[in-house]
Symmetry: C2
Subunit: 357 residues, 2 copies
DNA sequence: CGTATTTGGTAATTAATATTAGCATCTATC
DNA sequence: GATAGATGCTAATATTAATTACCAAATACG
């Protein structure tokens, strides 16, 4: 480069502050063992700030830039739901022994903010990156992430090319075990209220539901699947629709807790009691679920475990071209008091008359 | 320095990778317009990583280190309570227009981790720092924070020397307005269940309580102040103690929502109804409060506003020696259904016989 | 087969910063 | 009022990294 007019050097600061370049170096680096008066220090700092000193050109984007054990954690949203916090906590716990520091930035799913956030993270010299999204989904990893040349793990999302380790909740298994839990309590006529069906999670939980039915040799009845939208309102409406059926279900698998809240309301309005008249299970284990009456049986999202998994799979040997399978972690069922065996009379109808002892 | 054995330079990498220093520079900087084969690039990266290349020495800790608009947010705990997240969200909203990126790190109140966290934050070249604690309290700001030479704001904490702008909730005003709310509903015999009294927040809320009584010319009765510990259990015990009083109160100001939950339980067990037999107000506006029966009147902690305030007061002109007053933001009361006028009969006793129309 | 062009580098130069050594000036001390 | 530090700084130098200019081998091509 022939002309570099923009760059501010220590020489410029020295000229502005009326001292030597060496003095500027001493001040800005706070070099121990040098004697510079406070006045000169102030003048230097002031000049540096006024001129917008940016440090040396020699700040290579190279790996291990000074800080070891700093792991970047990029997530699209922090405040909207607790999952991100839980995952961060899991990551923190897992890296506790190693003394790692987590640096968290929000990408806000914004084409302007995301590169800024990632740059802010990386220019600090992180040694690894965890990239998380709030909603489980396939993503296109931006090039400025994939070309970072540091170990990277995807959390709650994955790319089509499987170029990075990725971990997501096992929603299929979760839907399956929720449904199986109802089946083992003797239910045969089990309804489900889905989320917005275009979302991966909703499809997977439904798949799990069907799989559990198939495993137990219970025929699938499309009448018992109502499409919701994760909201309590949809849960209410769907439950009402189910109750109006000629053969109403004896149990409802609500595919998230908010839907279950609407379901609770509808059952109350219909004069039915949980779990005597109707068993209900939710999904997500939101804080409120344990305070419902009766406390809701639901599945915990494994975000804590996913955070831990991510840390444990930050493998430095990134063989180029390697392909990783997507890891799926179990959503464990927390059993509370919203599930019971169906009433004998109801059960007899579908059980062909023989009741269990 | 005569011997510098530790420092890894591009020369070292060049030797290890079997190429020139220039080639290393090209590769690590991804300099456009240079032709380096992929094999050489790989060798260079591998060597750089193996040797632990840390970048140039010339990475001055100077101001404005490359990244403008990156604000560090250090907080002791992220996961234990939602306040930190709310404050971060407030800060994010406030800096939205400016396009700032927030970089969040947890200090974990740990003498080992905190310096690491702060260093991770600052070495990225943040232009400002917000330092937050979960519990409102006076702190000793570590020297590596106070000597950072960037605009700094304290959130939910403050130093004895007032050397930095600081913002905390106005707990005194909050306690006062909670109590006043009960007074305006006609209550004269108002109890309070405190938190752990060594905590600033508990003391301040109690002070607000006393101040509200004094303003309304209601004599302070020590019998009506029970020391709790923020827990539901303490709330239960304290309420029972209050109910056993010769002249039980008609309203209870629980100094946090969890205490109020215990209080609700105790009242239920005593066969009393809220708000007909006893008015209750809480504090903190936890998620659960709106789902209690009846929904709890409580005060919202102003963490969102505090986050915004912090961003707005990141003033770059840090005149050395300047003193800042501690800003206090209002805890606004959210009125739900746990407060009503006292029963006429109860009120008559203390009202001297004349009831309001 | 000679020549042009691309590929893949190096050597030398330059820019920027860190560090060492030393030089005035002040200040306390006898 | 000489003198021995201590203080506050600069000049010179050493390191390090970025960049330019150039070079040799491989490849394409008529």
């Amino acid at each position: 480069m022939v002309d570099r007019p923009a760059r501010v050097t220590m020489m410029d600061i020295a000229a502005a502050a009326g001292c030597s370049q060496a003095a500027v170096s001493f001040v800005l680096n706070d070099t121990p063992g040098t004697r510079i008066s406070q006045q000169t220090r102030d003048r230097v700092w002031e000049a540096a700030r006024a001129l917008g000193y940016t440090g040396a050109t020699y700040t290579t984007k190279a790996a291990y830039s000074g800080l070891d054990n700093v792991i970047g954690f990029a997530v699209d949203q922090l405040a909207t739901s607790p999952e991100a916090i839980v995952a961060i906590e899991g990551a923190r716990q897992a890296s506790w022994n190693a003394g790692n520091v987590l640096l968290v930035a929000q990408t806000l799913s914004d084409p302007v903010m995301e590169p800024k956030a990632i740059k802010a993270l990386t220019s600090g010299g992180i040694s690894a990156l965890i990239y998380m999204t709030i909603y489980t989904r396939q993503i296109e990893l931006p090039s400025y992430v994939s070309q970072l040349n540091i170990p990277t793990v995807l959390l709650n999302c994955y790319t089509a090319d499987h170029a990075f380790p990725a971990v997501v909740p096992s929603e299929i298994a979760g839907g399956q075990s929720s449904t199986r839990h109802l089946i083992t309590h003797g239910h045969h006529r089990i309804a489900t209220i889905t989320g917005e069906i275009w979302m991966q999670a909703a499809q997977d939980r439904l798949t799990g539901y069907r799989r559990a039915l198939a495993t137990a040799d219970i025929p699938f009845d499309p009448e018992l699947v109502i499409e919701g939208d994760w909201s309590a309102g949809a849960g209410y409406a769907a439950t009402m629709k189910l109750l109006a059926l000629k053969e109403p279900p004896t149990a409802i698998f609500c595919q998230n807790d908010r839907t279950a809240i609407g379901c609770y309301e509808a059952l109350k309005d219909a004069g039915l009691h949980i779990p005597q008249d109707m068993s209900v299970v939710g999904y997500d284990d939101e804080e409120i679920s344990r305070h419902l009456v009766p406390p809701l049986t639901t599945s915990v999202l494994p975000h804590l475990a996913m955070g831990q998994w991510a840390i444990e799979h930050l493998n430095p040997d990134s063989t180029p071209g390697k392909r990783y399978p997507i890891a799926k972690l179990e959503c464990s069922l927390v059993k509370r008091h919203s599930v019971a065996a169906p009433r004998a009379d109801t059960r007899e109808i579908f059980d062909g008359g023989h009741t269990s002892p």
